[in-house]
Symmetry: C2
Subunit: 260 residues, 2 copies
């Protein structure tokens, strides 16, 4: 899934203003911090905060694991407590899969991203807390959050590593900020066939099928023609593809002369 | 984000029937195959197919990297060509971020999962092709697919590793198969406060605020009372929380006697 286009860097810079701050509470390994930075940049998130990283700030390991997402690591800030790391934020989510004894709303990551993206665009600062690799967030940290973010996962195998959890949250935020068309068919330099092009092909094909005897049963001919026309219409042919098909018909009809 | 519940294994087994087959074409590293297995099992996908894995089938490295998702590796099948690996499938998607010269529909992963999940439930077999780590899918492999799956990504940093790409595709399929509530607030053993409970608290609070002089300006009293009631109503208090708040008021009012 590679395909970075460095000319489009500006678009990501614009986007990151609409994403949440990512707060890692007591991350244990520099490699994980680097992989989190990579996952963040995949979705244009640029603001990383670290609360008491265990290895201090092992930049070399983090940089190596970030696969080039150094811009996120360069901007990362370190705090001594979760309370300090979230002090300027106005909406904070905790990520935790374990049920806690706290009465706290649980929002699906998709719903949270859809709901809060318009608020972030209005200037509300939002952040997402991720706990340490081994134990997740403490109850004290969860208590500081406005809500818990929920990621649907196989209940029989729900262990995500830190970077994967950040990846999925970032993905939801990016989708909420992007105009993602459900379906497009890029034509490159081509253009769709006109209905006239298509009709020319149908007439050639049906004329040859009449001549060959394929459409020899008069009662069945109308429905067979409709089905064949439907099949080729469904393919959304380009002008070039119609030309290719017309060539195929001609060559198939005249094949004997070529075999001589 | 840990929280595996092994008692719920059956649910995932049921689910996997509704997910696509994951086909890795010429994967280069056993570790990556293991991490793919883990990402698959996170979302209940159980059917992994490998086309010409470069290291043959380096089970040890794959198992170590799978973090326990050996059930997926145990069931994995190996094929010599992409055509053989997809022979029994009826709908095949290619994952590629690079624009190709082929005229091929591009579907967002979310749209594809939403559209094809009902068909898979009806018994249609569907698969997703992933190319080798270094170069992605060949044009010949993409040509065999019905459509290209598109994952929205930061255009300035669009490099996903193999397991991350599988993770995001699996996530979309799992979401399309799951009833994910937008928002719930689990109350544990508690129950919500009744309006009578809440009104008792309001009356206690307002009576003490009258006595203390906080509500001393008659013109402002009605709107102040409404704002205070709104604030506490918005919190969706539990019965226990209302009791706690009533205790807090009592202690604050009588604090002087405790300080003696």
């Amino acid at each position: 899934m590679a395909g970075t286009d460095r000319r489009r860097k500006g678009e990501a810079e614009d986007f990151c203003k609409n994403g949440p701050v990512i707060v890692l509470v007591e991350p244990q390994l520099g490699e994980n911090i680097g992989m989190v930075a990579r996952a963040m940049l995949n979705f244009g998130l640029m603001e990383l905060r670290l609360v008491n990283p265990r290895e201090g700030w092992s930049r070399d390991k983090a940089i190596k694991a970030s696969s080039g997402a150094t811009i996120v690591l360069d901007r990362a800030q370190i705090f001594e407590s979760t309370a300090e790391a979230i002090a300027d934020l106005e909406q904070v989510y905790a990520t935790t899969a374990r049920p806690r004894d706290l009465v706290k709303p649980m929002l699906s990551a998709r719903h949270a991203a859809a709901t809060y993206t318009p608020l972030i665009r209005q200037g509300i600062k939002c952040g997402v807390l991720f706990g340490k690799e081994s134990k997740g967030l403490s109850n004290d940290d969860v208590a500081l959050a406005d809500a818990i973010l929920h990621l649907p996962l196989n209940p029989a195998f729900a262990s995500l590593n830190l970077a994967q959890a950040v990846l999925l949250i970032g993905y939801e935020w990016f989708c909420a900020n992007s105009e993602v068309p459900d379906k497009v068919t890029p034509l490159g330099k081509g253009r769709p066939a006109s209905k006239q092009d298509l009709m020319g092909f149908f007439e050639q094909l049906e004329s040859e099928l009449d001549a060959s005897g394929f459409l020899r049963v008069p009662d069945k001919r109308p429905s067979m023609v409709r089905n064949i026309r439907s099949l080729f219409t469904r393919a959304n042919l380009t002008f070039q593809e119609v030309s290719t098909l017309r060539g195929i018909i001609s060559f198939l009809v005249h094949k004997k002369s070529f075999r001589k």
